[in-house]
Amino acid sequence: MQVTSSVRQPLVTGGKTYHDVTHDVSRQVEGKPSLAWFLAFLTAAGVLALGAIALVATLWEGIGMWGLNKTIGWAWDITNFVWWVGIGHAGTLISAVLLLFRQKWRTSINRAAEAMTIFAVICAAMFPVIHMGRPWIGAYWALPLPNTFGSLWVNFNSPLLWDVFAISTYFSVSLVFWYIGLIPDFATIRDRATGLRKTIYGALSFGWDGAAKTWMRYESVSLILAGLATPLVLSVHTIVSFDFATSVIPGWHTTIFPPYFVAGAIFSGFAMVLTLMIITRKVFKLEDYITMGHIELMNIVIIITGSIVGIAYITEFFIAWYSGVEAEQYAFINRATGPYWWAYWSMMTCNVISPQLFWIKKIRTSIVATFILSLVVNIGMWFERFVIIVTSLHRDFLPSSWAMFYPTWADIGVYLFTFGLFFTLFFLFAKFFPVINMAEVKSVLKSSSEKAAN
């Protein structure tokens, strides 16, 4: 027996029964796609095709197509990489960390959030792979493979190599976690279908029969995967921050980076979850499952992580001054007042000031305001990575090497390509996969629905 306080908000509104949950979620998968879906999908696929031109040009000509120079060897590519990986973190936080904390509101958003994680990590991984220049032989630089040099192995002292292991582990474990959760729901669709759809979803459901013994093992697997994914997700952005923090570049060489990057990742990830969820609930009419309560809770996470990020920015500045290291002090003054001042102040406005608006209840329970602020946060987080990467590099130790970074059309095009890829994959997921975890929503329905409260 579960006892839930009557003062708690219901997680599912509209007096839904178990069958309603099945029906409302399976409807998308079974019906013909709507015009809105087609338009959205074609737009995403169009952006993907357009971006592919830049991608092919980069692969054909080499990374000289990008605006990099000998002072600024990392710019848009690594900015985009860190930005996409960060976005991915919210999915794991929702599905794993909130599972460990027994937060039942995760049940209706975890499926889509985790899909977002997987697609975001795919987009992220593209940048370092393309930046290798000749990715078709890149496996020898990134993986410990025997080779004809004798074998000259990869360098395990390098954070870039740790990143290879971290990102690929993160991607594969997230994929498995997501798929395990999908199996019972595929079985639901299988049992409602006939013909070809029954065969396809039958194969996808791996022969799931809903036996109590299998559910027991399933719960045990979910709990342990959550327990593994929690330190994993923290380690991934920690290692991403090591790419910078273990170097001796002023502006990068700081111990605050791991927690600061993780907080920023969750911050931007929740913003992206909100962007996607607000559209999804509207298009698929899932307002009873993804309620205002969910949106408000996610906005509260954004206030918290946004404030942590704000404190981190100020701490960085303070420590640069307090350290007494001139190069470090210069790096930070230059960020705020140098040629990239506009990027720094965009970051400060979007990340530190804008989320504070969520303290006002009217704003954090407004769909329009939440949607706009979720976009603002992600713009801000892109600028954060740009500021950290480019402003720290563009003032070299030798003033004769000082330079500026200007993106070329290929830089912009490859970034567009990942946007196209992300949304194409997300729209395909939203059409062909159940966007809400039906089994998990049903498991909280009795204790936490509006019906249960009456």
């Binding site: 069958h19 410990p144 002292n157 019972p184 299988r190 409602r192 022969g207 029969d209 593994l228 380690s235």
Partner: protein
């Protein structure tokens, strides 16, 4: 009558009714084949008397394997096979090996445990599961009782016990395989 082919099914609407029914049916001497649910019902495995899953042990052992493989690989490559001075560090720079060892631990623990889960629960794309009732994956809990196992008790008697324990429907189901 062959084992595992003829069943009596009790269909339940509510998880709490089901939970009481499982206890009641078991105490009346009927052996339950299995209970099928659309979602995980907490405590059902205890009511059915199942032993705790040993999957956590599998995860731990696979994790241990991951750690040892990762450490062996890194020490072998960096210290013995092709030692190189990198940033003035020791060849066997143990702190540098921790991130990769951690990731490999997580990777092997997760994949190993999921693999064991798939094998032990017979989950595979070409599996042909026995579907007792199509509503199991929608909104009904189904308690299946194998008639051959409970041959000491008459079919009518079993149906009576199921109905009195709160089943909304009592059906027969046979598989001819």
């Amino acid at each position: 009558m062959e084992r595992d082919t003829h069943f009596v099914l009790g269909v339940f609407e509510d998880e709490d009714v089901l939970m009481n029914a499982v206890k009641q049916v078991r105490s009346s001497g009927v052996k339950i084949h299995e209970v099928y649910s659309p979602y995980p019902v907490h405590g059902l495995e205890h009511a059915l008397g199942y032993k705790r899953s040993r999957l956590p042990i599998a995860a731990f052992l696979f994790g241990l394997l991951g750690t040892s493989l990762a450490l062996t690989m890194q020490f072998y490559m960096m210290k013995f096979d092709w030692p190189m001075i990198i940033g003035g560090k020791d060849f066997a720079a143990f702190p540098d090996f921790i991130p990769v060892s951690f990731e490999m631990t997580v990777l092997l623990a997760a994949f190993g445990m999921v693999g064991v889960f798939m094998v032990s629960s017979n989950l595979k794309p070409w599996a042909q599961p026995r579907i007792f009732d199509l509503r199991i994956t929608d909104d009904k809990h189904v308690m299946a009782v194998d008639l051959a196992v409970n041959s000491g008790m008459g079919e009518e008697k079993i149906k009576e016990i199921l109905a009195s324990s709160g089943a909304s429907e009592v059906n027969n189901k046979s598989f001819d395989e």
